[in-house]
Symmetry: C2
Subunit: 379 residues, 2 copies
């Protein structure tokens, strides 16, 4: 193993230079230490083959290595590096390291970097329909969304949407169904939302506005201090695993588990179209399959960590767990229908994607009512 | 595109022979049609590199190309072929083509073939705990199972279980929550199960036996004629997508949707340990990541097809959709607890895996009751 790794490292360092003589000498030295098969390989390289390598950069909207969200891109880079034997390497950057978290889309579009990892709803100012590929209030669960994407026409619509920007999108993991969030006071009726300053982006924010709240958009890293200082009264983020990592329980007392605004939040890989096309076919496939695998892996991680983190929050940090009252949820659902109807009216792109999404949701919802919902009730 | 494929095909054909002169001539001809980068690549191959290729065989427990179950192995083979640029090819065989469907495990263990695709519960006679990696009555959903497998210790336990047989197991897709199945007469009480001849394998069959039924094990291909001839009164198989493909609606009238005996059925890839170890590291990783991607892909396919197939069954074939009465489900649950307790008592391996599985299930069930179950109720 060690010898193989040495060969790889040396090969990479040397190819970029032109010192062919030195390379030949090294090859001969390595030959002495290798078995027959490796010998041939090294000889071939020494003889003429300049193995073409690709060094990519991936910018993200998360702190580097942030649990879940930030681990997905790292896992992708690891898969690709190992499957390609180092021919394609991807350097991952946290939000703000190369570009700010909300400029990931532009950086990939302009070709400043080859890849990004983010959430599609962040680009709703540019592409209204993008929210559908991130999260829609009262929308699909993660499993339903993945089925629509891969076998219900969703992916083709998404690709069409990003095409004018020279970006190829791929599903990039899911945090699953998200909690309603952290509140400094209890919510007992829809009236309690009036005047509430809450960090909640995307269409969920639009819905909250109709309920009388004052939605604001903040990056993850800004939430804690805003909650603590009283600049905001409430905030959603992701769920127990991520929320525990940010320590929100130290800034707000009530944790509302009710799922409504992000029901199966999907992340995204953004790939510069030209960069992808410039790869040989096998590396293109490696990128595609690695993304599929990470899409599941991140969801697995959230599913395994969330229930453990929730126990820690309740048992160790005395967090008060709450549910939104049914009538509040029904009001939010009513406002959601209004917001979606307006989006459909105002933007053709949104209307087109929504038709496909809502038809699929309506059919699979009936099916899951018969199967999973019933099962959750009687198991 | 065409030229690149040509190069690959030619390279493969030529490398196995020793006609170096002819190769050189062809290389020169191709050089004329290629850009600089491709030129170098072809020249390098022409010079000395004997690219090592691997041809694997994968036997399965399903009819070749059977919807869902049989597509998973084909997708795996395609991914691996494309990601490895043809260095690893996998020839997929349907049940009975090389070995019978229920001999997949032995064939992989003995090294007759390098790989298999099957369901772990088929090996319960050999390894009682294997059922836990296929389906357990009143067990985890697909998402819960994947989380336990990858981040809850499940995979390590599974590997330990198959290790004495020289097999490395990997998750190989999921059909999701399965329907209770097809019945020739309605089930209105637990008494209606008495004397019922039903095709139902695994622990579900054990549970049915306690309820007074006569469970039998048949391969998928044997079910239709047995139902039609009256040799059996009822049968479970998978769900609408697969059941429609077999035409069971022509042999039984009542279709019970209730999920209880296979709540998140997982399939498996079986890989001969020595064959896997003989691959270079990059191909090993390609096998692992392709399996992860297929694991999600198959589930996506079922999720997208099942609800459409159910509509076809009801609207086109007038199938009578039914639910098992609550008291029947509660009885089945009670028998399930008895069956599981006996398994734990009789087999140390089962007890060890069950402890991990049941603890994880108990914790994630509480969490999903708060999130997904509530959401299914109010969306």
């Amino acid at each position: 193993m060690l010898i193989k790794r040495k060969i790889k490292t040396m090969r990479r360092a040397i190819i970029s230079s032109t010192k062919l003589i030195m390379f030949t000498i090294l090859s001969i030295l390595l030959l002495a230490a290798c078995g027959e098969q490796k010998t041939n390989k090294v000889a071939a390289v020494g003889a003429a083959e300049p193995i073409k390598t690709y060094q990519w950069k991936m910018v993200t909207s998360w702190p580097k290595n942030f649990p879940g969200l930030g681990i997905g891109p790292e896992t992708f880079a690891k898969y690709v590096d190992e499957m390609s034997a180092g021919r394609l390497t991807v350097q991952v950057y946290g939000a703000g390291e190369l570009v700010p978290g909300f400029e990931v889309f532009d950086a990939v579009s302009q070709g400043t970097v080859q890849m990004g990892h983010s959430g599609a709803y962040y680009w709703k100012g540019k592409i209204p329909a993008s929210v559908i590929f991130g999260a829609i209030p009262f929308g699909m669960t993660t499993s339903e969304f993945n089925a629509w994407l891969q076998y219900g026409g969703g992916l083709a619509l998404w690709q069409e949407l990003y095409k004018p920007f020279g970006i190829v999108p791929m599903a990039g993991g899911s945090s699953g169904a998200q909690f309603a969030g952290w509140f400094k006071k209890e919510i007992n009726s829809i009236a309690d939302l009036k005047g509430l300053k809450m960090r909640i982006p995307g269409l969920g924010g639009e819905v909250m506005k109709r309920a009388g709240a004052l939605p604001v958009t903040l990056t993850g890293g800004e939430i804690f201090s805003s909650l603590q200082s009283g600049a905001i009264d409430a905030s959603e983020w992701v769920g127990p695993y991520n929320d525990l990592a940010f320590g929100f329980h130290q800034a707000a007392q009530y944790y509302y588990s009710s799922v409504w605004h992000e029901t199966g939040t999907s992340l995204e890989f953004l790939i510069n179209e030209k960069a992808l096309a410039s790869l040989p076919k096998d590396l293109q496939k490696i990128v595609e399959v690695a993304a599929r695998a990470v899409n599941q892996d991140m969801h697995d991680e959230y599913n395994a960590r969330n229930h453990v983190a929730l126990k820690t929050l309740i048992e160790k940090h005395n967090v008060q767990l709450r549910k939104l009252p049914d009538d509040v949820l029904q009001e939010l659902k009513k406002y959601t229908e209004q917001v979606l109807a307006e989006q459909v009216e105002n933007d053709q792109g949104f209307a087109k994607v929504w038709q496909s999404y809502s038809e699929f949701l309506s059919s699979i919802r009936e099916y899951n009512d018969l199967t999973l919902k019933e099962y959750f009730q009687h198991r």
